[in-house]
Amino acid sequence: MPDLYLIGTLPGWLVALIGVATAALLLQQFLGLKKRLPVGQCVVLTVLRAVVYMGLIFFLLGPALIDKRVTKLRRPLTLLIDTSQSMAFPASAKTNAADKGIKSRLDLVREKLEAGPNVNDSLIQKLNRDYDLRVIRFGTSLESIAPGSLAGLKPQDPGTRLLELLQQAVRDSAAQSGIVVFSDGIANGDKKTWDSAPLLPVPVFTVGVGDAENFTDVRIAKLSAPEFAFRGREFKLDLTIAASGMKGKSVPLFFNRGKNLVTTRNITIDADLFEQKITLSFTPKDLGTHGFSVSIPAQPGEQIAQNNQKEFKVDVQRDKIRVLTLSGSPAWNYRFLRMAMKQDPLIELISFVFLRTPSDSVDVPESQLSLIPFPIDDIFLEELKNFDVIFFDDFSHRAYFNPVYLERVRDFVRDGGGLAMFGGSRAFDSGGYGESALKEVLPVELDGKGTYQSVGALNAVLTTTGKAHPITRLLPDPKTNEEAWSKMPPLTGLNQVRSARGETLISTSGDGSAGGAPLLTVGRFGKGRTLAFMSDDAWRWNFIAVGNKETPQNHLKLIRQAVRWLAQEPSFEQVQLRPIASAQPGEKIAIKLKVLKDDFTPTRQASVQLRVLSAESEPTLVAASADSDEGEYTGEFIPTKEGTYRVEAEASLAGKVLGKDKTSFTAAFTYGETDDGRPRLDLLKQIAETSKGEYFSINDWNEKTVEKIAAKLESVAPSQIVEQRQTRLWSTLWPFGIILMLLSVEWWMRRKWGLI
């Protein structure tokens, strides 16, 4: 039934004025008629005119008939459910993370949404019926799911971009909609606080999961460790231990290198919200990449154990290559050897020159000599391990050494050290090394018969291996390198050896053709490397070259490259693993390495074996294939969990091992989802408040909460559509017809009563 409304726009005072004027007009009309007609006829005519006037005044008020029709709508509602990894943490402080049958935060959300007498009458189904319901799980991204598929939800996302994704969900929402967020409030995306967030145009109802007040946890909150350190030099790491709800307890902190304990500390927690900075230190002794960890054992009642440990890796490098040289006497070879090493900032040289032999007499008291006692026990029994390379420069052990010291040198090389022997009348067989522990170590065969000879002119000839070897590769271009070697001044002394056991890089030939006696030979012994230079004349490649107006740099470079090769500098390795950048679990990692043959030319025929090891799982074998003729190989690996992974590579060619290398990398999510599991319910309250929604605890979630949400949504924006149909009476003919008819009746009566 349509309703009558006055929708006129004339002001009331004007209508009233018109009414008063009309009344006055009618009175005047009545008084005028009364003089000519009886009172009854006067009344009839006046009433007729009054009806007409009233009709006209009525129309001035704008009468209209309005017909209303109300349509009720299904309001859009979005349910956002946090499925980040922190939702796997216990929902209540009364449960322990280690307990079986634990109810996680996500379990509780699922339970509350699926609560109801039966599946069809669960809260989630009711919401689905009452609203245009969208259910979205979120962590690092939004993903729509079916309302009936809550059982399949897992706390799997490595981070919670709560604030960013909430804004995205708001943008995607229709008008008059609402959003309900189930979360523990942990936000670790780019935005972590709500302060700078814009006002949301739709109400957001937040449902907090987790118990912030009774939260019990101890964790390693921050860790600052260097990415690389120098061998033999202490490095420090700073960490922050944080704890909640554990006041009065004392917990141990373990600092491990791999599985070996480095040190331990005891931490006394003296506040409910506890935080303490700790500095630990370590002096690495081995080169390479090493994995370290700091950890606190899971404590009774502690809700989260995952954040009790942090792992990191440190690449231990040598600050300097430490070289020990023993020279049998002052000699020009020592002078220029020293020059080459002293000018190289990477080399730290400790040298001993035997200025005097037992047969030399002195003419002054010992106190007037600068000679120091050779600290033989200190060097060979204590300090040998601190050197990288030992040079025996025309030095015979016989006058000074107990054989046990040479055994120490042999063990030093076997364990990875470098040994070089330079020739002269005290070296090789002439120095008695053919019957010493170094016989098996040196890369040349000694038979006790080899002698030292002064010769006229001895030209150095690069062998095929020497042309590519990193020691004798003085210049990058092979041709220029060979030319440089051909210009080297001839040498004048040679130690005869039976044969070369290792790779000969330079041989001698008086007539300039290849195939002479070995002059420079390199080899391996155990983990170490060896070099034999069968002359004491290497200095001539420096100083005589200067006299020939050539550069002395070739000699200096040769010595420095020999030192680096002996010290096993990574750039001089045949198998070189490239550094691997940190990655996230699930992300594909390319493991790249370079493989060189014994002659240091690249090969693509090598058999490469890659093994990836982690602390928790079995080693994984990774296939690697050659990328190019440049000896580059690549294997792929996907880490599944956070942690430090160690990569070991071994390459072989025709059954012979070319070399090994190892490195490590870290897989970690950048969000730090499990670092701090304390629920941030204050953030959820802030979101609800600023969006005109409301905050609820998950424990209060039930049908009444749903009704509250409905009422709130209704108060903000009704969920019905009202249709109105308006008929303006003055826009129809009927009112005018009636007025015309009344005026006609009046006219007819006036005529009948003789007024017209």
């Binding site: 020009w332 002078r335 002269g424 002439s430 420096n542």
Partner: protein
């Protein structure tokens, strides 16, 4: 009998008594000892390049008797334009009188020699500052290293500790109690002595000292030999005695 041979025989006698390592002299019989050091004396034009012709052999005998250096007993005479100049990284320049200026080639050769590891000992047999040999030396050094003048060698320098801990500078006549030198970077390739070292080293054919050392006598001569040995070892080991491992020992001995 050669002094060194004599000492070896004594030592071998001790060997029998078990006082020295058995293998101390057990080098292969066919091994030929290499001469590690040759004393090369510069021949130049004008003046007197050879004021003490018999000075080197006594020094070399002393060097071999006291140290492990295998040295040639006689000097090698060489000019700065000889092709084999760089075979002899230790050069000795002695004289009494002003000599002719070096040629451009000689200057260039000597500059390269000294800049890349060679060593030059200059010995003034006249000992008159600003006159004769001294005048010529300073003139040529200015041409060699313009702007890099002679400076006094500090008493703690490695050259004065390379074998003997020297407190005095010897020679025939103490014209200067200190040495002068030219340094290039960390090295000291030129050392200049005005005390006539060669005169103090020299013996005549019958083994008598040619010159009397004044005022210190034989002790002053001994200082001259010690300085000669020290400078040879310094040339062959450079700043070896400045290495950290030597410093505490040397400091301890010097403070006794």
């Amino acid at each position: 009998m050669h002094r060194r041979k004599f000492i070896q025989l004594i030592a071998q006698g001790l060997l029998g008594a078990g006082l020295l390592p058995k293998s101390a002299f057990a080098n292969h019989p066919q091994d030929k000892r290499r001469l590690q050091f040759v004393f090369a004396q510069i021949r130049y034009r004008g003046g007197d390049w050879n004021p003490h012709p018999l000075s080197v052999t006594p020094l070399m005998e002393e060097l071999m008797a006291r140290t492990s250096v295998e040295a040639a007993a006689v000097r090698h005479e060489i000019s700065l334009t000889d092709r084999d100049l760089f075979n002899y990284p230790f050069l000795y320049l002695a004289g009494k009188y002003e000599f002719d200026p070096f040629s451009a080639e000689e200057i260039d050769n000597l500059r390269r020699f000294l800049s890349y590891g060679g060593f030059l000992l200059i010995d003034d047999a006249l000992g008159q500052q600003g006159y004769g040999f001294d005048k010529a030396v300073r003139r040529e050094m200015q041409k060699l290293f313009p702007g890099n003048e002679f400076k006094r060698v500090p008493s703690g320098h490695a050259a004065l500790r390379s074998y003997y801990l020297l407190r005095r500078i010897g020679g025939v006549r103490i014209v200067s109690p200190t040495l002068e030198s030219i340094t290039l970077g960390n090295s000291m390739p030129v050392v200049y002595c005005q005390n006539n070292l060669g005169g103090a080293w020299e013996r005549d054919q019958v083994g008598k000292w040619t010159n009397t050392c004044t005022p210190g006598g034989e002790a002053q001569r001994k200082d001259a030999f010690h300085l000669g040995i020290n400078l040879i070892l310094y040339a062959m080991t450079e700043n070896y005695k400045d290495d950290l491992i030597h410093v505490p020992f040397i400091r301890k001995r010097l403070t006794r």
